[in-house]
């Protein structure tokens, strides 16, 4: 093994700028996709518990179809297969505004929306029915019971799994490099190509991902502690991860 380490490649030349640009793109892509996924997740998760069968079928179809197909296939599908079918004006707009970014955004958001949906549904369903009944027996109306009891508990219950899923979304945003989005992994590869220093480039990219994940996990753990209802949640989770 005669590898000459040269960490300076990370801050000489354009590497630093590339890494920063990659980080910004990763955050942009993840954040926008997260918003889409969160909205889709709430709506379809709630619809799956709704008492109206056709709505339930539609959201079940959405969840089961999208989460059971690899994200990479969705990336290719939204990037290669769909733009040619769009109206020409929209196509032109997309090609002027980075079609790969928006295809990647849509693929990531729709895929993770299906996964968020499952988290929402299990969060709502894991609240014991007695909570609801107890709320009604104290004289609350149904909307009040939802607003004051069920939703506040459900939101707290889903913080850990939502954090997990959000981290998955952040990590999965790296798949967008396959359709040419210049996110962090893409830029890491670019530095490697230009400097032939694979170890340094990959280490930098890996550390940035690790720090992002650790930071988000720490923030969410703090949020979870801050909003915890004493003696209510946080027990019975010894075996969970």
């Amino acid at each position: 093994m005669s590898y000459h380490f040269d960490w300076s490649v990370l801050w000489t030349g354009q590497s630093g700028t590339w890494l920063l640009q990659g980080l910004v793109t990763t955050l942009e892509l993840s954040l926008l996709a997260w918003l889409l996924a969160f909205m889709l997740g709430i709506v379809s998760g709630a619809l799956r518990t709704a008492p109206i069968p056709p709505l339930r079928w539609v959201s079940t179809f959405y969840v089961e179809f999208f989460r059971n197909v690899p994200l990479l296939v969705w990336m290719f599908f939204w990037y290669f297969a769909i733009p040619p079918l769009l109206p020409e004006s929209l196509q032109n707009w997309l090609f002027d505004h980075g079609v790969e970014f928006w295809a990647g955004w849509f693929a990531l958001g729709v895929y993770h929306g299906a996964r968020f949906s499952e988290v929402m549904r299990s969060g709502i369903q894991s609240i014991p029915k007695t909570q609801f009944e107890a709320a009604l027996s104290t004289g609350l109306t149904v909307p009040q019971a939802y607003r004051l009891i069920i939703i506040p508990i459900a939101v707290r219950l889903i913080i850990p799994p939502i954090t997990n899923e959000s981290l998955n979304l952040l990590k999965n945003s790296s798949v967008a490099l396959t359709i040419g989005v210049a996110e962090l992994t893409f830029q890491t590869r670019q530095i490697e190509t230009y400097t032939a220093k694979a170890f340094e480039a990959l280490t930098a990219g890996t550390l940035i991902y690790l720090m992002l994940c650790l930071a988000i996990a720490a923030i969410m753990a703090w949020v979870e502690r801050r909003v915890a209802i004493p003696g209510m949640i946080a027990q019975n989770r010894a075996g969970e991860f």
């Binding site: 197909v69 296939v73 890491t188």
Partner: protein, 226 residues
């Protein structure tokens, strides 16, 4: 929609791309099956290490799982793509690189399943085994692991679904799995809609079928506690 592109290339897509039988090494299943088996073996060791008393064993195992769970799989694949030729002095075929990356990466997730499975065995079982005079190793092999494995099965099936979908990422280093096979056909035929929808359906059939199976296992185990 022109499904003749699927019909004409069906053999290449399914037999070569999905199953992995053909003129060259490739295939989604040919990568996914060994990866889950070896990944599980490694995962058992790491999962057990995370529960060890000695910090010299526990801490490295914890670092291993936390590290690989915090890094994108794409990154891990690239790491092995560069590291393996560096340490071996020669380059491995894509199959070897992809299999190594998947075993190492999945082992971190499987270790967490193993750990949760072991922790799901009631404490009283350990105490009862100790009371009958079994040693710690005997307790692990004869009492805890058999029950823990049974509890793990639904989670393992779910993880296999994740792995099966993740193997599509092996195509970024040129491994010819189902996704890459579709790309190859698409480069020739330019029929992205039909091809990508077709492989989506193939993946979906496998994943959805297995997830139904995992759910039925969960229900069956819930009815008859070990």
């Amino acid at each position: 929609m022109d499904i003749s592109v699927i019909v004409n290339n069906f053999n290449f897509l399914i037999v070569q791309g999905f199953i992995g039988l053909g003129t060259f090494t490739g295939g989604t299943l040919r990568l996914a099956l060994p990866a889950i088996i070896f990944g599980f073996i490694l995962g058992v060791f790491i999962g057990l290490s995370r529960l060890a008393r000695s910090p010299w064993i526990r801490v490295p195992a914890t670092v291993y799982t936390e590290f690989f769970r915090g890094v994108p799989l794409v990154m891990v694949i690239f790491w092995f793509w560069f590291i393996i030729p560096f340490f071996l002095g020669k380059s491995l075929p894509e199959y070897g690189v992809a299999l190594t990356a998947f075993v190492v990466f999945e082992a971190a997730y499987l270790a967490e399943i193993v750990r949760a499975g072991i922790q799901s065995v009631p404490r009283g079982q350990v105490e009862a085994a100790t009371a009958t005079g079994l040693t710690r190793a005997q307790t692990m092999c004869h009492v805890i692991l058999p029950q823990a494995l049974r509890n793990m099965i639904p989670a393992l099936v779910t993880q296999f679904i994740v792995l099966l979908k993740d193997t599509s990422l092996a195509s970024i280093i040129g491994y010819v799995d189902l996704t890459k096979a579709a790309q190859i056909v698409n480069n020739r035929e330019i029929r992205p809609f039909e091809l990508y929808l077709f492989i989506a359906v193939v993946y979906w059939l496998c994943s959805y079928g297995m997830s139904r199976y995992a759910r039925s296992l969960e229900r069956r185990f819930a009815q008859s506690p070990a």
